[in-house]
């Protein structure tokens, strides 16, 4: 358009200055109108979903940490139990059992529970002032082991059986297995909850995107008539939803992180109070650690990505549908006749 007529020249410097001011354009606005009520509602839904997802993730990480600490405490020791027998010299057998156990690589030290300690263990069931000589009570030897290099329990068990038939070795495997299974189940439940939260979120975003497309159908039409490709339209909606999802997931994630930080702080300041002890007994330590907070951050990013990708795919599919309906004269539902 090089030969377009030149603009009329203003008569004075003042008029020129005024004109220059008018020629300044505002920073280009987004093609989709900025947030509306629907966008705010979606942001709140995403924030709630992110909060629940992060809470689940933090909870799972907390249970795993507690289970792992219990597991470590339990597997640090094994117990040799010797049942009383008329032919058996108990004290001698206890010392022998300890010596046998300590011959194995991976054991650290052995401690025979004396009468007093055994009586204390049985006190909840049999009461105070128990005389062990009067009852056929089994006696215990506690062996501390090297967790990183545990001894061969099968060989130890066999050797103890050979030397002292009344002895049995308890390596706490049953308890450890139960704890591992409990922790695994908790993780599985957590993953299930996360899966449900993500599914609900994806469906919410699909509905919201379809709603936004339907509410902005006139914009999609205009973009079509100015030669926009489906990809361009999708990227515009994607930008719109990325902003909403980033804000929503950040709010939800930060709220969840604050809950953990707040509870952890409360637990630290309320040590030895009945409330804190009760909570600790039920849930363990509320601290989720650096990796837990990183997990919360990662969840926020994943939620933002899922939302954005869902919006993109939904828009691409819906645009293809709109194009197909618009261009097909056999489908009279989407037409403007002339």
């Amino acid at each position: 358009m090089s030969d377009r007529p030149a603009p009329t020249q203003a008569g004075s410097g003042q008029a020129n200055a005024a004109r220059r001011r008018e020629m300044q354009v505002r920073p280009t606005g987004p093609i989709l109108p900025p947030s509306n009520i629907q966008g705010n509602a979606l942001m709140v839904v995403i924030a709630i979903m992110a909060f629940l997802a992060c809470l689940t993730l933090g909870g799972v990480s907390m249970v795993r940490a507690t289970a792992s600490s219990w597991q470590s405490q339990i597997s640090r020791e094994v117990t040799i139990q010797i049942k009383p027998d008329e032919k058996l010299d108990m004290e001698k057998s206890l010392a022998r059992a300890r010596d046998i156990a300590l011959t194995f690589v991976g054991t650290k030290e052995g401690r025979i529970l004396d009468d007093e300690a055994t009586a204390r263990l049985l006190e909840p069931w049999l009461g105070a002032g128990l005389k062990l000589d009067e009852l056929p009570v089994p006696r215990l030897v506690v062996i501390t082991i090297d967790e990183s290099n545990p001894p061969d329990f099968t060989a130890m068990r066999a050797m103890l059986q050979d030397e002292i038939p009344q002895a049995s070795l308890d390596d706490h495997r049953t308890w450890v297995d139960r704890l591992v299974s409990m922790a695994d189940t908790t993780v599985l439940i957590g993953m299930g909850v996360l899966g449900l939260v993500f599914t609900a979120m994806v469906l919410t975003v699909v509905f919201a995107t379809r709603g936004a497309l339907s509410g902005n159908r006139h914009i999609v039409e205009v973009l079509h008539f100015v030669g926009a490709e489906g990809r361009f339209v999708a990227s515009e909606f994607q930008k719109h939803f990325l902003k909403i999802s980033l804000k929503g997931s950040a709010a939800g994630g930060l709220a969840a992180a604050s809950v953990f930080a707040g509870l952890s702080l409360w637990q630290r300041h309320a040590v030895a109070t009945p409330e804190s002890d009760q909570a600790t007994a039920l849930f363990g330590q509320f601290t989720i650690g650096f990796s837990g907070y990183m997990g919360v951050f990662a969840t926020m990013i994943v939620i933002a990505l899922i939302t954005t990708l869902t919006a993109r795919f939904t828009v691409m599919r819906t645009i293809a549908e709109i194009d197909s309906i618009r261009s097909d004269p056999a489908r009279i539902d989407g037409l403007a006749n002339g």
Binding site: M1, V25, G29, G227, P329
Partner: protein, 219 residues
């Protein structure tokens, strides 16, 4: 440039509203498309814009058979055609400047590269003082000129205008017609759909008359 051969179109299971249309829009030509209301002028414009598929017949656009073009390539062809609607189809949340710049924006161009051109075009259509105004405050004529500027900004090879003077007074209609003639002088083929006989009488141009779905050409 655009060639129709025995093109027919029916909506759904209804009667054929365009029948056996055969014509060519030559490069750099100027023509009026006219006919009574409901004759199918807008439908024909949509067929030319590749926004609607014919029920039968052949359409060649820029030497390509449109039935063989993948859907993903159609936007590239549409970019060579500018279209102006009777109802303007401006985006109310964007300023006059942003509406006119929209075609360049969807082509991925940087704003700095087209700002001067858009402002110059807005001045050319007489909207130099209205660049930062939102469409709801523009008059009918201003909206029409904004829509025309938007259709022209990427220098299309063909301009399709649907009742471009339908919402303006006679002096403004004359001004808009001069705008189209000026554009045509610069090499763009122009098709103006109108039933304003007064407008058509002002220019000695080819007339395409749609009656009962059939097209008569008067050179």
């Amino acid at each position: 440039m655009i060639h129709f051969e025995n093109v027919g179109l029916r909506y759904g299971m209804g009667p054929e509203i365009l029948k056996d249309l055969t014509f060519t829009i030559p490069k750099g030509s100027f023509q009026f498309l006219t006919g009574p209301s409901g004759a199918g002028k807008t439908t024909l414009l949509r067929l030319m814009f590749l926004s609607l598929k014919p029920t039968r017949g052949l359409i060649r656009s820029f030497e390509r058979d449109i039935s063989r073009i993948p859907v993903t390539e159609l936007p590239m062809l549409r970019r060579r055609i500018g279209i102006v609607f009777q109802d303007f189809r401006l985006l109310d949340h964007l300023t006059t400047y942003e509406n006119v710049a929209l075609p360049l924006r969807v082509r991925g161009k940087e704003e700095a590269s087209y700002r001067k051109d858009v402002i110059e075009l807005l001045k050319w259509v007489g909207l130099g003082e209205r660049i930062n105004v939102l469409p709801p405050v523009l008059s009918g004529g201003e909206k029409q000129r904004t829509a025309i500027a938007r259709a022209l900004i990427d220098r299309p090879e063909v301009l399709l205008a649907d009742e471009p003077t339908g919402n303006v007074d006679p002096p403004m209609a004359r001004r808009l017609l001069n705008l189209f003639l000026e554009l045509n002088r610069l090499g763009t083929a122009v098709v103006i759909a109108t039933h304003d006989l007064g407008l058509m009488d002002q220019v000695n141009a080819r007339r395409m008359i749609l009656t009962d779905g059939r097209l008569d050409l008067y050179e």
